[in-house]
Subunit: 381 residues, 2 copies
């Protein structure tokens, strides 16, 4: 795929500006990094080493080496990318040993700048510095992996096409979920969650974006119900929340429906406030709008009714279910919306006695305004 | 629950020995830590602050504060533990602000030792040191969270009872899976995965321990199939792998079955080697055995037949699907088996043309020997 080369070139240009000779990315348990999939297609459990200059050598014929836990899987998924595929087993099965091997293979002279992931724990950082003496080891909040995260906030055409496809499937499922709850074919949280699992895959999805949260009315007070779903009733009297997404070709949607039945006036009020907040926020989502302003407007709107939302307004979606841009009312949030950004807007209010209500849709920023990709809604039963 | 107090006391004793005045644990996205659940019952998204001495104060009446993202959920799950429950919102929604607040609440004098999680990224560590000047900030490979991980490697009676219950449910599902595959009620990977999801919850489980890996014969060559399961056939000619676990009261099982149909001699050989390796390893699992020796014996056994296993032999299970002890053939693996340890033994061999075979069971070490808690097996169709 041509995009892999384009993406690799972007980060290599950045490396040149920063004077970095070798970059290591890590996608392992506890330190997941979707940048490796974005750059190569490989879905997980690997290290990726990137350099700027090709080294003419019999052993290596690329500017990037993917050291994969499962080499067979890597050949299947990263075969179209311009990286050299190697077995993690041959790299000592430890990042520090692997980076030492990569330095040798790429013939990188001592004194060079080597960047490791910004999430590298402090004690491990000390180990890197100790083991790779002679090199200048960088581990920075604004390092290469964060630069890649930021690049990924604006989607290219291929990515937008994948998310559109995921959104189309999501919307089909939303209609079917509404129909099946109305017809009482879906009666429990488990019915709803399993319906999504199977129907998403029937339509070609890799799976769901995250564990579906299905919370009937007596559990919907929690922001994220625990356990995620059970055999308890769903869609009965009160407010039931269904938070789910599907993953197509790696790309996620993330939506939340609220099902409302026989509400009392206090519950009606919550639902109306959430619907109005969603409308207000979506209307504000335009090219060049500071994301913080939208979240602040929703907080102010709720505060007028003496309500408080216990979570952020939204987040970017893409290869991860949570990624940049940040859509929160926090002083350090400097994100400004740009065409190609795709993110959720998900106002919600929660009460231990009344239950919870959240309405979440996925928005694409365009040159002219915004496009609401998904059709999540409050469903009045 | 009495155990929460006992566990808290254990880590407080350790803090006394180490001279630590305040300990912070963090269970957030990207930095999951089951120690908070082990110490309080709260299942996720929280910070936990632990000190050694109670501070008589109107504001605080405990030696530990749980700052939870969802305070309602925390009250439900951590209500029986001796910690004080607070809203993360009131702690500035940032670990650094929260730790500063905790230092004030507990009246901890400057110069004191404060321990933060060993997984704290190097750039964040610098921020902590900068913000909390006057305190001695510790971030160590052998810090408190790792000490807790090590304590958790030996299960107490209540934990063993939960894992036994999870194992009983797992074994019931194994029998039903065999029956349903034989009777062709389970024909696809999706059939198998969804059967487990629903039947586990019917039996009172929180859910599965991890996303079920169901790989029909043409995908079983991968150690961990990607995607985890699809609508492709399962249990057809060749080798199909089913790797799953259930979670009961937070405690995980982890087993792998291989379904074998109409094998050729090369496939038969792989299956026989894996079965023999499992037998050999299990027989070696006794009190005081170094875990490395077992893994080394399996590597040697496979090497005699010119085969290589591309992953470790096993891992502890408990609140996490992967925890201590480490059952790997690595020079730095110093784990020695003790009564109360529960772990997997999971030899496997994989070939792009022949497919893969893995056999994984969960073992409890007792005073006298070992108990195989689960009944995973090679199922010849």
């Amino acid at each position: 795929m041509e995009n892999y080369s384009t993406r690799l070139a972007k980060i290599q240009d950045w490396m040149t500006e920063e004077g970095i000779s070798l970059l290591m990315l890590e996608d392992t348990e506890g330190r997941r990094d979707k940048n490796i999939r974005w750059l190569t297609g490989h879905p997980g459990d690997a290290l990726l080493f990137i350099t700027q200059e090709e080294v003419p050598s019999r052993k290596i014929n690329s500017k990037a080496i993917l050291a994969a836990w499962d080499i067979n899987l890597a050949k299947l998924y990263a075969g179209l990318s311009p990286v050299m595929i190697a077995a993690y087993n041959d790299f000592g099965r430890q990042p520090i040993k692997a980076i030492a091997a990569a330095l040798q293979l790429f013939k990188i002279p001592s004194g060079s700048k080597i960047e490791i992931p910004s999430v590298t724990p402090y004690p491990s950082f000390l180990d890197y510095v100790g083991e790779l003496s002679g090199y200048d080891i960088l581990c920075r909040n604004n390092g290469a992996n964060v630069e890649l995260d930021k690049l990924r906030a604006v989607k290219d055409e291929e990515e937008i096409a994948d998310i559109r496809k995921a959104a189309d499937i999501t919307n089909e499922l939303i209609d079917l979920l509404e129909k099946n709850v109305r017809e009482e074919k879906i009666k429990t949280e488990a019915d709803a969650a399993l319906f999504i699992e199977i129907e998403a895959r029937k339509r070609g999805c890799e799976g769901t974006s995250f564990e579906t949260l299905a919370a009937g009315s007596f559990r919907s007070f929690a922001i994220h119900a625990f356990p995620a779903w059970t055999n308890f009733p769903f869609g009965e009297k009160g407010l039931s929340i269904l938070d789910f997404g599907v993953k197509y070709n790696g790309y996620c949607t993330d939506v939340t429906l609220t099902f409302a039945r026989d509400l009392n006036p206090k519950q009606e009020r919550i639902v109306n406030l959430v619907e109005k907040a969603a409308k207000l926020a979506t209307a504000m989502a335009h090219n060049e709008t500071p994301a913080k302003d939208i979240a602040a407007a929703v907080d102010t709107f709720f505060a007028k009714s003496k309500k408080e939302m216990p979570h952020g307004l939204g987040h970017g979606i893409g290869l991860q279910e949570h990624e940049y841009p940040v859509i929160r009312n926090r002083s350090d949030n400097e994100w400004v919306l740009k065409p190609g950004m795709i993110f959720t807007i998900e106002p919600g209010l929660y009460d231990t006695l009344l239950g919870g209500c959240r309405l979440e849709n996925d928005i694409l920023i365009t040159e002219k305004g915004q496009e609401i990709l998904t059709t999540a809604r409050i469903i009045r039963l």
